[in-house]
Amino acid sequence: MRLLEYQAKELFKEFGIRVPESIASKDIEQGRIDAKKLGYPFVIKAQVPVGGRGKAGGIQKCNSDDEFEIKYPQILGMSIKGEKTRAILLEKMAEIEKELYLSLFLNRSKRCYTIIASSEGGVEIESVKNQTIKEVGLGDVGDETAKEVANEIGLQGSQEEEFVTMLKQLSKLTVEKEAELAEINPLAILKDGSIMALDGKVMTDDNSNFRHEELSKYQEKSELEERAEKSGFSLVELDGNIAVIGNGAGLVMSTFDMLADNGGKPATFLDVGGGATTESVYEALTLISKMNRVKGILVNLYGGIVKTTTVASAFIKAYDENLIDLPVFARLMGAESDKAKEMLKNTKTKIFDSVEDAINTAVMEVNR
């Protein structure tokens, strides 16, 4: 789960990490109340689960009621890299002397947690050359390691002490919440010499959600995503017009790639899981039927154990019950595919022997 900035900062506060005074809201009525409480000037920050919002105009200074009335709705209505603003954070401005970088993340290839710190912060970490990197096993950071990191990025005295405390707090958060990433960027040295987390990014391991009931309030899922999850599917929604359904993440990704390569615009990535049954395919079609932008459905199933006739009957049921009236372009690999073709002869579902043929026809017919 990728937490929004204000959610990450709630966790930061819980673990003792110092953050600027701020209040989050989801509508302007609440925003006006928050603005009074906080007092001008402050910054209005779009809460989106994607980076690069500063450049896109998602963070703006606000000095007065008049500015507030214009900027709040503008930022709340914004879409950044295809992600709608989920909430607004009003935050007091800090007097910054210097910006640093600090994160703890799951190093996949080394199979351990790793600290990255730098005396250059506020920019994307990929572009920072001066990085201090330390591997720390399952994520526990002790005094000694924290001190080494502080010294390597040039912190001394009280700043070193504050940094050591903050890094240990971040480590505790990472371990307890099973985060894959906990990032403070920028970590600011303020004019008064103290340090503070100005931005926060936390990603937790979805697979550990069952141990973290306390994080469920941060779950921001669309109705469709929630329904997909209940059925054991993975769904990613996009703004194209051809829904992609398949079984197995790799197979769906490859279908998605080929569709995009051929000029098609994917509307979904929908993985119904390794197996495929009449019920799961029918449920997938039900989800797709709720998306108005979809003009056609591309299906790529590698049956193996499952009979393709089983899948075919799901399409027939969906048409019979007027669930869908969309053309389906399907490649069903598996047993009894001739029989499946025969079953679907008089429907809007076309069966193809190769996924390439299914894609070409889908792109042609949907764009016509």
């Binding site: 990728r2 689960p49 994607v50 980076g51 295809g82 799951l106 996949r108 290839s109 199979r111 351990c112 994307e124 970490i125 990929e126 399952l138 099973e178 894959e180 990433l181 391991d205 979805d206 697979n207 550990s208 069952f210 141990r211 993975s234 990613v236 996009l238 398949g246 079984n247 197995g248 993440a249 790799g250 197979l251 769906v252 990704m253 490859s254 998605f256 790639d257 080929m258 569709l259 995009a260 390569d261 994917p266 990535f269 993985d271 390794g274 590698y302 049956g303 193996g304 154990i305 690999m333 190769s354 996924v355 390439e356």
Partner: protein
């Protein structure tokens, strides 16, 4: 380095045949576990025992003894391989039981195992000189000898091409294409779609690279992490010169979105398809644009 071939097929007997090694199934009575145990037995896998707490003393399909704990199953059968079907929540416990009982090859089928649990098991496996394949893997198959996993049997035929894949269904699809094109497989290993894998791409490669009967390798990668990049660098470093062909799924996937697999996510440039394809190209590994192109590229590599 664990010798996976020694574990999976032992030494050739007097007639020049490998021996099917005994396998324990953890979670043998569950819906998923029982279905796939039957399919593995049909394939010829030497299933010798099952483990389901609370069902010790019973028999699976009237012949396979079920035990309470892996230690009892190992004592009775001397098996060194276990395949685990338990739900993700109970994986840590089941895998710990297996490794503490002397299992040397653990095939971890469950999806949705928390990363922290996987990491704990990897640590334990290192301590015990054992290997885990997975989690979230379809398993491992040596065609016509042993199938320890959930893959359908039909795509595979015996031969001399090894296939390593993060994805399950793409592994079936590409193996099927290889079989159709006349390239049988010596072994196929599912790495798994999780962020942290018991057997990484590079580990799997090292397990199979010195097999004298190996003619070529197919690597099926996907976005997320840098396993493909590290493997490519390793291939350059050791000047490995048998033909290798790659495929990378997720070239057109949006950034910062998990594409079905917990591990299939691009963060910034970390995990991007461009980075993987660039490294494969540097290692002189052609990368197919479509799964259907893999066998064609491999045929091209084999003739040059």
């Amino acid at each position: 380095m664990t010798d996976i071939y020694e574990l999976l097929r032992g030494q050739k007997d007097g007639n020049g045949n490998y021996q099917r090694q005994p396998v324990i199934v953890q979670g043998i009575t569950g819906k998923y576990g029982s279905t796939h145990t039957k399919l593995m037995m049909e394939y010829g896998t030497n299933i010798v025992a099952g483990v389901t707490p609370g069902k010790g003393g019973q028999k699976f399909e009237d012949k396979i003894p079920i035990f309470e704990k892996v230690s009892e199953a190992v004592a009775a059968t001397n098996a060194k391989i276990s395949i685990v079907f338990v739900p993700a929540k109970f994986f840590l416990e089941a895998a710990t039981d297996a490794l503490e009982s002397g299992i040397k090859l653990l095939v971890a089928i469950p999806e949705h195992v928390p990363v922290r649990d996987t990491m704990k098991i990897i640590e334990l496996a290192k301590e015990k000189d054992a290997v885990m394949i997975g989690p979230n893997t379809p398993g491992v198959i040596i065609p016509n000898l042993t199938k320890i996993g959930i893959m359908p049997a039909s795509p595979y035929s015996p031969g001399k091409i090894a296939v390593l894949s993060k994805s399950g269904t793409l592994l079936y699809e590409i193996s099927n294409n290889l079989t159709t094109a006349g390239f049988g497989q010596s072994i196929t290993i599912g790495i798994g779609g999780d962020p942290v894998n018991g057997t990484r791409m590079i580990d799997a490669f090292d397990m199979i690279k010195d097999d004298p009967e190996l003619d070529g390798i197919v690597v099926v990668g996907e976005i997320g992490g840098d396993a493909e990049e590290i493997l490519a660098q390793h291939i350059i470093d050791i000047s490995f010169d048998k033909p290798i062909v790659g495929y990378i799924a997720g070239r057109r996937a949006p950034k910062e979105k998990r594409m079905g697999h917990a591990g299939a996510i691009v963060m910034g440039t970390y995990g991007s398809a461009e980075s993987k394809i660039a490294m494969f190209t540097k290692a002189n590994i052609p990368v197919a644009k479509r799964p259907g192109e893999v066998a064609v590229l491999l045929a091209g590599k084999m003739t040059t």
